[in-house]
Amino acid sequence: MPIASFLPTSADYARFLPELLLTLAGVFIMFLEALRPEGKRSGAGLFAIVALVMALPAALLASSGPAFQGMLVVDGMATFFRTLVIVVGLLVVFSSTDYLRGEHQESGEYYALILFSIVGQCVMVTANELVMIFIGLEISSIASYVLAGYLRDDARNNESALKYFLLGSFATAFLLYGIAWMYGATGSTNLSDIRRMLASAAAPPEALIGVAAALMFVGLAFKISAAPFQSWAPDVYQGAPAPVSAFLTVGPKAAAFAVLLRIFLGGLEPIASRWAPAVWVCALATMVVGNFAAIMQSNIKRLLAYSSIAHAGYVLVAVAANSGTGSAAAMFYLAAYAFTNIGAFAVVTYFSRRGERYVSIDDFAGLAQRQPGMAAMLTIFLLSLIGVPLTGGFFGKFYIFKAALDARLIWLTVLGLLNSAVAAYYYLRILVVMYMREPGESVEKLPPAGALLRIAVYGSAAGTLLLGIFPSLVLDFANRAALR
């Protein structure tokens, strides 16, 4: 085959445009940082915002089709998730600035890392090749490790980073091992080929594929913090800087879910009868662990961490459904959850203040009386997490369980719904202290929120409500984008 035929065409670059933009922006920010005169703050944050805003249309309008010898494939799902992670990036940047300023750590590297990590996630969601997936995953992860430990003088940050890093690479090794076996079994690392192979008569022994799939599942389940691989999540999310936690709970997670959907609903669909039951169990375990462990938490970041585990469980229910509606539901849910959770964390960021002094739930006592606006926003987010109608969270749950029932997963549905009832308990506790307790010193001297943070909070709230009142906007897209 002539070399020329391998030269990337303009179409290839067009489909890779968002990643390119973001990478260039990241590099540029690093230069800015290097050239920045001492003490003056560079417009890094602003620039990052601009870059993300520019990347948004690039992601939305990317024509669908394969690129770079089928390394990537831009399809509805890719577009959906790329858009999602970029929006997530935007909100996170907005909610970070004030925080960093407060910590006297506002340096461009932070934004560069965020951008690169988003690049990694974009690569993950577009990749159609295990190699690409692996590299994207690593880009995103390594950036996340660093972000988690960004405040290098803060013991909690270090610990969180270390745990995330060690366990993360530990799990990655499993994923790799799985990939190796998949390669060995099918002779390919291209998902389309793999699927074709598995569907064909020459399919290798199922057990072989099964083991490979299992090992890969371990790697991905770790990333989405599914039980029993969830144990790192609470520590990491609690230890990391609040805005970073916000990012970690949605960005990498969404990307990992995209990969999960691609690999299992895509490549490994032929052996669904093998992995679906495992996902069933995993989903239930995840919901239970997340919800019940959250009941006893007193630190709001940790509580949200557990809740994020529980929500991963709900999305796994959709995966277990193993259907088009299922993947659509998962996509919608991840979108809704992204807005909700970033919003919630943004409020926490605002409230916890320098050194994250006020992260205990009791500190929120009487917030509604000093800062009714912020309290109302947090209320919206919590209601969405509970799954009260007219919020994105509700419709997310609704579609997920609808998909599950479509797939006749009646018991999983019932148990999941009961779980969501349990969840209501610990979210309500926050509402209780916010509205029904008298203000304490933590609330007394609470400064008003900065403009950018406000944008983040109100933006997320708007997104949450929008997804709740007019879900069709996103859902129709998700349905069109859904695999199969």
Binding site: I142, N158, E159, A161, L176, Y177, G184, D235
Partner: protein, 108 residues
């Protein structure tokens, strides 16, 4: 493994077995060692084991992709090493220890 007169060449499965053993040893190291750096090295061991599998498979399949893949794994390992060691440094700076079990303030 079947003992007896040694064959001229060993089947690939032996290589794979070796890789599995090394992988297991890596995991074991992760579980047993208390020094963070050693734990990290155990991960590297696991990655090496994976690489062996890749190379073996690509021999079986008579295709080079496995080599490519293991090449990327090395690159990634390098990157991880850089970041990982940096993280370990910060941890050490803050706690003056490399005992992994002492890094356990975040819990429950």
């Amino acid at each position: 493994m079947p003992l007896g007169p040694l064959p001229a060449a060993v089947p690939p499965s032996w290589y794979l077995t070796l890789s599995a053993i090394l992988f297991a040893l890596g995991v074991l190291g992760f579980l047993l060692r208390r020094n963070i750096i050693t734990v990290f090295m155990s991960i590297e061991l696991m990655l090496n084991a994976v690489n062996l599998s890749f190379v073996t498979f690509s021999y079986v399949l008579k295709r080079a992709d496995g080599h490519i893949f293991s090449f990327f794994v090395m690159v990634v390992a390098a990157a991880e090493a850089a970041v990982g060691l940096a993280i370990i440094l910060t941890v050490f700076k803050n706690r003056q220890t490399l005992e992994i079990d002492e890094v356990s303030t975040l819990k429950n």
